[in-house]
């Protein structure tokens, strides 16, 4: 079922990317939404629903990072830090840790606000740095945050993290241990993220980001406050990450520092690049593909090898190798991503004399 749903989502995303009229796009989107809403009713185990939720959280993360990297062109290699901040917000305010039990729904937005606050704190002094320097600063921030959570044992449970987080309730009805309620929450979160990021893309601010990405100096001469616009991208992107972190923590009922390492940031960036930066359907495709690969395919490599290929191979050991080969192969084959946006497609097919 996971594979089927993933294939359907990808097919719809490609179709939405390709059709031109807005009405057809909306129709396709509505169709997909209905399909996804009823999908769990059509069979499929709790495990597959759970796998879909994990992928869905990646979709929210990727869409959020897309605002920063895809729209504004700011290379952020520490996105997992904001994810961690969101998750720990839930963990510290809705668990036995401090005896605080704030409601899930409130924390969703509180965490988003907190994460964006941290985005501003980090971004304000550093956003005037050149692209690669910004990348390394965000990378450093991404290393610092989980390490701080790990070291402040008294407040964060240290390496153990915080467990037994509150189970969210919906009008008094607890979610329980099933993955299904989280499926719908994640679906709603994706819908909200899609709506907001799509609004942004076509807005005054979205245009300002495009301008900054293309030529910062010319953008400034058009009256765009580049620092504030970039800061807005950073803060908004962070808030989606924090938001996703709450859903993630609530479903897992646990947070620990090793969940938010550099690899997570890399994974989300890879989703963007693989799918097609800046292009929302592309980003969804990238997130679904890599989410599926990481959460479902690679952990089950041994079983898949036995069941599907009828070879008894010990492939799991090489899962990282396979992942690396896939990344490199795809980049060589389609460096602009599977579904690039208009500008990047043009860029790839432009004469190579335009070295930017």
């Amino acid at each position: 079922m996971v594979y089927a749903i993933a294939a359907i989502v990808i097919a719809f995303a490609v179709a939405i990317d390709r059709v031109r009229t807005k009405r057809t796009k909306l129709l396709l989107l509505a169709g997909l939404a209905v399909l996804l809403a009823v999908a769990p009713r059509l069979g499929g185990s709790d495990a597959s629903v759970n796998a879909l939720v994990d992928i869905g959280i990646y979709v929210v993360l990727a869409l959020g990072l897309n605002v920063v990297v895809g729209f504004a062109g700011l290379l952020d290699l520490g996105y997992a830090a904001f994810f961690a901040i969101g998750a720990y917000t839930y963990a510290m305010l809705a668990s036995p840790q401090f005896g605080l039990h704030l409601p899930f729904w409130v924390l969703l937005f509180l965490a988003a606000a907190l994460a964006s606050l941290f985005g501003i704190v980090l971004g304000a002094p550093t956003l005037r740095l050149r692209g690669d320097y910004l990348a390394i600063v965000t990378l450093g921030f991404g290393e610092i945050v989980p390490q701080v959570f790990q070291n402040l044992t008294k407040y964060t449970g240290g390496p153990n993290g915080i467990g037994a987080l509150d189970v969210p309730t919906f009008f008094g009805i607890p979610f329980g241990q099933s993955a299904l309620p989280y499926y719908y929450v994640t679906l709603a979160a994706i819908a909200l993220t899609l709506l907001l990021t799509n609004n942004l893309r076509a807005s005054r601010l979205g245009r300002a980001w495009m301008a900054i990405r293309e030529d910062q100096l010319a953008a400034a001469h058009a009256g765009i406050d580049t620092t504030r616009s970039k800061l807005a991208a950073f803060a908004l992107g962070a808030s989606f990450s924090g938001f996703a972190g709450v859903i993630f923590a609530a479903k897992l009922s646990l947070v620990s520092p090793d969940l938010f390492q550099f690899q997570v940031s890399v994974l989300v960036v890879s989703m963007l690049v693989l799918g097609g930066m800046g292009n929302i359907p592309g980003v969804v495709v990238g997130a679904v593909l890599l989410g599926l690969l990481n959460g479902t395919v690679l952990p089950q490599l041994d079983t898949i090898a036995t069941d599907v290929l009828h070879v008894h191979a010990d492939l799991t050991q090489a899962s990282f190798l396979i992942y690396g080969v896939i990344l490199v192969g795809l980049m060589l084959f389609r460096p602009e991503g599977l579904l690039p946006d208009r500008e990047r497609r043009a860029e790839m097919h432009a004469a190579p004399n335009e070295v930017v």
């Binding site: 089927a4 097919a11 490609v14 790990q150 153990n160 037994a164 241990q177 090793d258 690899q263 050991q317």
Partner: protein, 414 residues
Amino acid sequence: MLSRSLVLRLCAAAPLAFALAACSSNASTASSSAAQAPAGNAVKIGIDLPLSGADSSVGRSTLNGMLLAIEQANAKGLPGGVTLQPDQLDDAVQGVHSPQQGVANARTFISDDGVLVMLGPYNSNVAAAQIPVTNAAGLAQISASTVSDGLTLGDDAKNLRRANPTTNTFFRVSTTDSRQGAAAARFARQLGKKTVYIIDDNETYGLDLANVFEKDFTQLGGTVIGHDHIDKGTQDFKALLTKIAATKPDLIFYGGTTSTGAGLIRQQMFDEGLGNTAFMGGDGIPDIATVAGPRADGTYYTVAAPNADKLLSARQFVRDYEARFHEPIGPYSANAYAATQVAIAAIAAATKENGGKVPTRAQVLAQIAKTNALSTPIGPVGFDAGGDVLEPVVSLYTIKNGQPVFISQQSVSK
């Protein structure tokens, strides 16, 4: 046109994927019931371990201990003609063990009716995420290596079981940090060490172990000069050891495993003039010689099992393991073997009770909880109500000429 054909291909792929999914009945639970349900009375044992990335060496040797027990049981035959089939999933994502993936794997097992019991996980925080899920589903889970107290003891454990407070589904053959740390502190005092400098790897196992050791060592009249934590992936410990050398401790205690730093620290102690200072750790470092080489000599370590030289089953196990896998056992191979023995014995007993038919998860769980004095390579195993081993024995070893030498043992209970 490329884009058009891409659309077509992908659209074509969707129904195909559906068909595939239908054929394999449930592709996400890769080896699921209907289509691949093994013939006869097959019972699946779900195994969740980190099999790729940084933990994969220990994960593999743990897995091997489990596989060996299953193979031996199948060869010997089980009541009702039941055959056991291992179904292992990797809980490392991007090379790092992941509670998130652990839960995904646990749910995969739960969704697969053929799985009657689950072995694993390796890491405590993975267990902390899995327990609420297996507890709600009533799937028994036996871990060979998790040591964090909160999994079985106190309010933390109660919170993990809140979906189903009256049932415990989590068992472990490994000893809690608090028991091992306390035993290690007593051993250290018995060895006549008065002052200690404690280092830990700032990970679940190591930090907790070091904290318990610190508390107990102080209670027993020893002096803790300092307690430092290290960063993951550190290779250079010279700064830390320079600092420690200035304090001239009798003993350096390390909470952690060989790969998180014990091997390197032991080795670099010699470069900082601490070669003759005693070095001690828990059951994460019996393999220290693989990193520290000859400099491992003189290291003390504790293992949560009676003297292996005296234990027949232990010697037999080591021989069988080396014959089967052509490599020395890993730090948790024996534990893994024992955990699997518990699961197999429970399945056998439940099958008998069920009149030779494949039992239910609940029946297996009930049998596991009743386990008492089962003979294993780590001594007799039985569980208390929380899922911890009854009356565990902790032994102290030292390394001489690269070989473990038994020193003494003590029985620890709460």
